[in-house]
Amino acid sequence: MYIIVVGAGKVGWNLARELLEKEHEVTVIESNRRRYLTVEQELEHNVSYGDASELWVLERAGIQRADMVIAVTGDDEDNMLICQVAREKYEVERIIARVNNPRNKPHFDLLGIKPSVSATDLILRLLEHEVPEYGLVHLLDLQEEQLEIIEMLLGKDCGVTGRRVGDLQMPEGSLLISVLRKGKGFVPGPDTVLEVGDEVLAVLDPGHEEQLKTLFGPADNGAGAGG
C-alpha cells in the first residue's frame, strides 16, 4: 500500500517507522525545516519537506496514487483540510485524521472526516475501561511474566461483600493477593469475609479481567457469574 503521512512529530515519525517495517511504501511530509532534517537522517527519501496544506506539495508526494492519507500534525485545521482535499480532490480511498483538541471533534464530523482519532478520547475511554464505577484499577502489566495485577474497591452494591473468600468462584488463573481494610493490609485466607469499602488486589492471567469485573461488580451481575 502507498501511504502518505502528514506531520513528522512523535506520532508521524513512529507511525512511518511501523508502516515501513510492515513493508508499506511511505512518504512523510513535514513543514518544519529543522524537524525535516532530523527525521530525514533516518527515513531518508521517505520524508519530504513542505506544507501539505499546499496542493503542489501533496502532488509532489504522489497523492494521486496514494491508497491512504494519514494527517497527524499538531494543527486540527491542517489535519481536517488535508484529509478533505485528499478525499474530495484526489479521491484517496482511505483517510485518517488526528484530533488534537477534542473540542474540535464536531468540526471533523461536520466536514465528513472519518475516522478521526483523538488521543484524549482514547485515554478517556481507557480510563473508563480501567476504572469503572466499582473501581477496578489496572495497576501493573507484567508483560514478560504474562501477569496483571489489578485493584478493586468493593462498593455497596458489590456482589461479593459478606461472602467468604473460600466461597468465591474466582476465575481460573486469578488469585486474591491482598485486602486493604481501614488503612491496614493483610493477605486474605479462605475464611476472610469481604466487607464494603475493602480494596482488594488480584493477580491474574491477562484476559481474565472481564470475568473478575463481573464477579466483583454490582450484585445483579455478580450473582449471575457466581452461579
Binding site: S53, M80, L81, V85, K89, P106, H107, L110
Partner: protein, 137 residues
C-alpha cells in the same frame, strides 16, 4: 459597512484589535452599533456569542487560510448562513474551493493582476516580450 447602516459584528482572538476598529471613527465602535467579541473562530461558543445564528453574511478573513476554510464550512453547513465569503491567500486552493461552490476572495490573485497591469502600463507602447510573441493585454 457599519457606516452604511448594516449591523456588523467582529470576532477576534486579540482584545487589542478593538482599538484598530475605532481608528478614523468619530464615535466608539459600540456607540455606532458595532459588536466586538473576543474569541477563537473555531470555538462554537465564540461564534454564537458573535451572533452567527442570525447572520445574513459571514466573512472568514483571519490570517490563516486553513482556519478560514474550516470556519467558512462551519458557517455554511452548521449555521446555514446565506452568504459566506472566505479569504484564501493560496491561489491554487482558492481556485479549487471556488469550484467546490465556496465564495472565495484571493488577495494574492488580486495583487498579481494589479501588479501585472501596472507593469504593462509602465512598458513603452508596442513593447513585446523577448521571444517576440505579441503582448496579450
Amino acid at each position: 459597512m457599519l457606516r452604511e447602516g448594516h449591523e456588523v459584528s467582529c470576532l477576534d482572538e486579540d482584545p487589542e484589535s478593538h482599538a484598530r476598529l475605532e481608528v478614523g471613527l468619530d464615535k466608539g465602535w459600540e456607540d455606532l452599533g458595532g459588536q466586538f467579541t473576543v474569541g477563537a473562530g473555531l470555538e462554537t461558543d465564540a461564534l454564537v456569542a458573535a451572533g452567527i445564528e442570525k447572520a445574513d453574511a459571514f466573512i472568514a478573513s483571519t490570517d490563516g487560510d486553513n482556519t478560514n476554510i474550516v470556519i467558512a464550512q462551519i458557517a455554511q453547513r452548521r449555521y446555514e448562513v446565506p452568504t459566506v465569503i472566505t479569504r484564501i491567500l493560496d491561489p491554487l486552493r482558492a481556485e479549487w474551493y471556488e469550484r467546490q461552490g465556496m465564495h472565495t476572495v484571493c488577495p494574492t490573485r488580486v495583487a498579481i493582476d494589479m501588479l501585472e497591469t501596472a507593469v504593462r502600463e509602465g512598458l513603452p507602447r508596442g513593447a513585446t516580450p523577448p521571444d517576440g510573441a505579441t503582448e496579450a493585454a
